[in-house]
């Protein structure tokens, strides 16, 4: 079943803002808009619990003010919240899909940040034992993600391009 722009009555849409994360159980949908940031989507297929983080920078360097902004604080925080929601440890059941890291401006900070974010996210997920099963990274345009906690599918829309699903 393709994901649509307009959720049904039972499919509440949760918007994940930049530098934040969110956790939801089926049948909710989650959405975020990415540019050079990286979107991390975690899914527990058995429990149908999903999580999405919109990560801005690779490392918090010890800062605790905005844990959702940094890969090294957002990913562990997201997993903890998913485990609280499930009431059990989930790490071995989770799979990850990662998106974003595009660069619009030639030579701008976003090129390096996009790559650094991807490297950090992949390393942290590997350290936590979470398999990355899909990647849609780089390019020059933003992405709109719509994630179904029912199916685990992420629909991607890019401006002027065809929609696709991962």
């Amino acid at each position: 079943m393709p994901l649509t722009d307009k959720p049904g009555a039972s499919e509440e849409m949760i918007s994940v803002l930049i530098g934040r994360w969110a956790v939801a159980s089926a049948p909710k949908l989650m959405r975020t808009l990415l540019g050079s940031c990286v979107g991390v989507v975690l899914y527990d297929r058995l429990g149908k619990i999903g999580g999405m983080a919109h990560i801005v920078l690779p490392s918090s360097r010890g800062s605790t003010d905005q844990p959702g902004k940094y890969a090294d604080t957002a990913i562990p925080g997201l997993i903890e919240e998913m485990e609280r929601t499930a009431g059990r440890k989930l790490r071995t059941r989770l799979s990850a899909k990662i998106f974003g890291g595009a660069s619009m401006f030639q030579g701008g900070a976003s090129i390096d940040i996009g790559r650094s974010n991807q490297t950090a996210v992949e390393q942290i997920l590997a350290d936590l034992g979470v398999a990355v099963i899909a990647r849609d990274m780089g390019g020059e345009t933003g992405r709109r993600l719509t994630f179904s906690t029912v199916t685990g599918i992420v629909a991607v829309r890019i401006p002027g391009g065809a929609d696709y699903e991962l």
Binding site: G19, A102, A109, S110, G142
Partner: protein, 213 residues
């Protein structure tokens, strides 16, 4: 250094940008052949989530003409059209009924880029003349000029565009500075915005210089 501007510093910046908006009004009026008023609507220093909504709902599709800012201050100056408003602007420029243009072809993109070039250059020339940090001998930016790069054209989600533009500041600070100017033709607001987004380094330089102004 935390480059958070005080309200007074933001007011001062707003007044300086107001002069730039006045000069941009004249330039864009001549270009469109109609009286256009450009107004500084906001000098905002906001967190990331708030910044992403400056152009309206995050998934609004916009046509954006970014120009890299070079010289004494670096960053981006971006003319942003809500999609339909941008296409209507092309109709105005081509002297054809509004609604004739329905997509961004090569000619339409070129018209948008030229509009951005005219507005951006008028704005920057005025800023270069009035920014005290470019005049003060004690300023690290003294004697510098403000140069726009050639305008590009992007069709983009509003939030993604802002994310790209603000990333350099986000590396250094949790509070991001955006100066937004809006446009009107004869009292009717156009869905255009001119965004001035300094780089992280330029934000720190602006902060330091405005502190001593």
């Amino acid at each position: 250094m935390d480059p958070t501007l005080t309200d007074n510093q933001k007011r001062l910046l707003g007044a300086i940008f107001g002069r730039g908006a006045g000069d941009a009004s004249g330039a864009v009026s001549r270009w469109l052949g109609r009286p256009v008023t450009v107004t500084v609507s906001a000098v905002k220093q906001v967190d990331l989530a708030e910044a992403a909504e400056i152009l309206g709902p995050s998934d609004t599709l916009v046509a954006a003409c970014p120009m890299e800012l070079m010289g004494a201050l670096t960053g981006q100056i971006i003319l942003v059209f809500e999609d339909r408003s941008g296409l209507a602007t092309v109709d105005l420029l081509l002297h054809q009924p509004i609604g004739t243009t329905t997509e961004w072809g090569e000619l339409e993109q070129s018209a948008a880029r030229e509009t951005a070039n005219i507005v951006g250059c008028a704005y920057l020339n005025s800023l270069a003349a009035h920014l005290p940090i470019l005049e003060s001998p004690s300023s690290s930016l003294a004697g510098g000029s403000l140069l726009p790069g050639p305008p590009g054209f992007r069709h983009e989600f509003a939030a993604s565009l802002l994310e790209f533009a603000l990333m350099d500041q986000a590396i250094r600070s949790d509070r991001l500075l955006v100066v937004n100017s809006t446009f009107a033709i004869e009292e009717t607001r156009l869905d255009w915005s001119l965004l001035f987004v300094p780089s992280g380094a330029s934000l720190e330089a602006l902060h330091a210089c405005l502190e001593s102004a």
